[in-house]
Amino acid sequence: MAGTQLLAEGAGNYLDFGIFHISFTNALIMGAMIVVFVLAVVIPFPHHEADDEAPQ
């Protein structure tokens, strides 16, 4: 068991917040997903002027 723990210790950097234990890479990806979600909501979608004239 001690040997396997030794192997795992070198595998990446981890963030610790109380009971939460997460790898830095996973936290970065989750943060990036939230940023993309917010940008998708706020950034206007490009459209052609012809679309405004066409009936919906």
Binding site: I29, M33, F37, L39, A40, F45, H47, Q56
Partner: protein
């Protein structure tokens, strides 16, 4: 009236006289006319948040395509050759993107309350597709044929045993994990995704809260 015209007229007026007529009727009426591949959408669809469903679908195609290439080459190929490494990476990163855009698609639809307007089944098939995809991802970890797969398999075995599922699924059986990963679970994901897309086309994309849905 010719014989062909006569037959056409009869099948059009009596669509349930045979299984082919029944199937044709179902295909024609599953979604409203012109909605299988629509070329116009309501104005509220012009938002980036509506892009992520299609992004999920496109990344799924790349996942399946790269997985087929890996299946043709085999583990000795994808672990040792440059081209094998490339397709291994394409498979990994298309899966990463698949789950990321699927999660953003889920967030968007959750905050839009996308189950409104008779779309409960669309929402539920999406959730089941997510669960099936997670299972496919987990068995993918077990199918890498490397020490990573061994480590994850041992952890998964302990976890499954602790909740009493070890009798039904042995995470340390690589043949079972690989077969589930490349046959059973992709088939489940594929069928559920097709159902989900058909339901989206049947009911149309959900309007934002407060927006009026087009009547036709």
């Amino acid at each position: 009236m010719s014989a062909i015209e006569d037959t056409a007229a009869k099948t059009a007026s009596a669509p349930r006289t045979s299984w082919t007529a029944w199937a044709r009727y179902r295909i024609q009426h599953t979604v409203p006319e012109g909605q299988w591949l629509p070329d116009r959408q309501p104005s509220y669809v012009a938002s980036w948040i509506y892009v992520f469903g299609m992004a999920t679908l496109v990344s799924l195609f790349i996942v399946i395509g790269s997985g087929v290439v890996l299946a043709l080459g085999g583990s000795e190929w994808w672990h040792t050759s440059n081209v094998g490494h490339f397709f291994n990476s394409v498979h990994l990163w298309s899966v990463e993107i698949f789950f990321a855009v699927m999660a953003i698609h889920l967030w968007g639809k959750f905050w839009m309350a996308a189950w409104r307007g008779g779309r409960a089944l669309t929402w539920m098939t999406g959730m089941v597709a997510l669960l099936a995809a997670v299972g496919t991802g987990f068995t993918g970890y077990l199918s890498q044929t490397n020490f990573d797969a061994q480590w994850i398999g041992a952890q998964a075995k302990d976890g499954l045993n602790s909740v009493g599922l070890g009798a039904w699924f042995n995470a340390l059986n690589p043949a079972a994990a690989l077969t589930l990963h490349i046959v059973v679970l992709p088939l489940a994901v594929g069928v559920i995704v097709i159902m989900h897309v058909i339901l989206v086309r049947r009911h149309g994309v959900v309007p934002p809260i407060g927006a009026e849905e087009p009547t036709s």
